[in-house]
Subunit: 387 residues, 2 copies
């Protein structure tokens, strides 16, 4: 176990009906609100009206930026920052999934920064503060609601980059599983792949003696595997949605990573895929992760064997760590496929053409990962295995 | 799963050498420090000198209150509060185990309250704020380092009562497993019983559909069961101590209880035992818990069966939930005994004499628990089973 610092200041309200707190929560933080949302699905579901009503009951002044896309773009963030500065916005209220939340984090930070918010992503500037930040989550996936990460894409430079900074924990996040009952099947699946991938990134690592962290990861993985069929059989099953939602939050609120050196190379590789091809993040992860696992299996075969036994419940039966680990990797790939995620690049229309270019981009700041340092050639090999 | 609010603002520094942060951590919060500690064992181990040196390097003004006992007394808290007010202390720095930390929490709150700090325990006053609060933990047990609970005893009234209030989360807690290497065997065991008991209180509950919470609890229990023999075989095994320490923190930082209705009647019963007889809290818990389990087994037999299978790894083999649950309860009792905890009242010198009186006191504010509402007669029965 490594030394660790843990501090998560986000206040979470979780459960049925908690959405109605949004007015009082925002009113405690400021009078001028920027409401940020995505494609408008919250208008169809009635969530938009409900949130607006609660804000108005508290006499808050509401401005809006909408149209945040999956793989959110820096242009929209810039638009939000501009409005915050013009109108002296005090609270950014994100209503949506990870894309909206991540955009909101950078808008809130950009509102108190003189330069271009893209500077935060290219290490030209550090986040030093932000205006207040509240989220109402509508998609269980990224964990953005209780973490200090934000991932944003830049179409001009074809980059998808992350900011990781303690200033961008939300002040308050409202997690009402009822707001996820209308999420379509494919997005539900991508969200589930995303949370499983988050656990993988923090479970497969080179740090010795992390028994509690391992078991916390396994707790989340076993629960996701148990409840995914229930959610997919009935997308409006409240208890199943609630369970998956809480799994998504705990999968990436930094707790399970406390004391370990997470890997994260698969996320970095996937970010190139979605930067180049704009595929859903969860789809890219389902394709890359099993191949990354095979590529690094021989570095930590014991961990993969443990994964196979404890998560996939495949008994050892005299097998070596490597043999057992391979079965777990195959079970993972099979499971992604069964729940409806793609498991090859060709399935999402990606061929060999730009693999070298993506490998180059993924590693331009240096090799990736902690289990095995991945250089350009390694990433290229993994991407080829994904075809 | 119930609706939940989760917010844990404590910043944790965990690991070897983190003790040396204490100077900078305190200096960021204030200039005048009240150093609070127990019987003086920190002088023998050198921790006292080390902490004082770090504080002096930052030119902090240090006052002291020492002699905090296990089952800490309100008198010492009053002494601390008085000194805080006289000297305008800005930071209470607790160096010790749960007793020192709990006392520090109430001293910090009492420092900004005009009345007697015992008022917080008898619902005569609510905590509305506090001065700054830093802890350096030396005993893995209570979880006080990252929670909002404090338990203090009053010799005059023979009461042992709790304050639960969000204001008393520490600002910063330093968890350096090296500071636990000198904890003697018996205290190590009582600490381990305490953390297991905390998990039990939050695992055995009547809330339906809490699969993730269940598995998080099992993760902690399985880890404690795996690592306890290692710690007891070698009290200076750093990795084992570190693992147990992190288990103790996560066992009661409110995370595993988020979304469930914990029971906590065993703690309330035990508080009477240690209020009347001043026995170690962990000893009382080891005695009472298995009997409470038997008493409520028939209310949630499925949960006890799950406990037996997942925690004690006893397969079902055609047994009913009740039969399987009983085996788990017996395994728990056996395990407490094996690691060196008492499992009967007589073993700690307690007879039948005052059981009625304790049952009366435990329930005077109303029945206990969530699994089964325990009235005076129930508590008396459980205590009799403990003889």
């Amino acid at each position: 176990m490594k030394n660790l610092e843990y501090h998560n200041p986000t206040r979470v309200f979780f459960g049925k009906g908690e959405t109605d707190r949004v007015g009082e929560v925002c009113a405690e933080l400021g009078k001028k609100i920027l409401l940020l949302y995505g494609s408008g699905s919250i208008k169809k579901t009635g969530l938009y009206d409900r949130v607006l009503q609660r804000l108005r009951e508290k006499n808050l002044e509401v401005f809006e930026v909408s149209g945040i896309q999956p793989n959110p773009r820096i242009d929209k963030v810039r638009e939000g920052v501009k409005l915050c500065k013009e109108k002296n916005i005090e609270v950014v209220l994100a209503v949506g999934g990870g894309s909206v939340l991540d955009s909101a984090k950078i808008i809130a930070a950009g509102a108190v920064y003189d330069g271009d918010p893209w500077d935060f992503f290219i290490d030209k500037a550090q986040v030093t503060g932000r205006i207040k930040l509240v989220t109402v989550l509508t998609l269980a996936a990224t964990g953005s609601e209780m973490n200090h990460n934000a991932v944003v894409s830049n179409d001009e430079t074809m980059e998808k980059l992350a900011v990781v900074d303690p200033h961008i924990f939300p002040d308050v996040s409202i997690l009402d599983p009822e707001n996820t009952l209308t999420v379509p099947r494919d997005q539900t699946v991508y969200g589930i792949v995303d949370m499983m991938a988050h656990v993988f990134e923090q479970y497969f690592h080179p740090t010795p003696e992390t028994p509690l962290q391992d078991r916390l990861c396994e707790a989340i993985m076993n629960t996701v595997i148990e409840y995914t069929p229930r959610v997919l059989a009935n997308l409006t099953d409240y208890d199943a949605r609630a369970t998956i939602m809480w799994c998504g939050t705990l999968a990436l609120n930094h707790l399970i990573e406390a004391g370990v050196e997470g890997d994260w190379s698969t996320h970095r590789i996937e970010h190139e895929l979605s930067a180049f091809y704009d595929i859903p993040h969860g789809a890219g992860l389902a394709i890359v992760f099993p191949q990354w696992m095979k590529y690094v299996l021989d570095i930590i075969p014991g961990k993969f064997a443990q994964f196979t036994e404890r998560v996939w419940k495949i008994p050892r039966n005299g097998r070596s760590d490597r043999e057992l680990g391979l079965l777990g990797i195959e079970a993972t790939r099979q499971w992604f496929s069964e729940i409806g995620a793609p498991i090859t690049l060709r399935a999402v229309g990606i061929g060999e053409e730009r693999l070298q270019e993506m490998a180059e981009r993924a590693t331009r700041k240096g090799p990736l990962g902690s289990v095995k340092k991945l250089h350009k050639e390694d990433v290229f090999q993994i991407l080829k295995m994904c075809l």
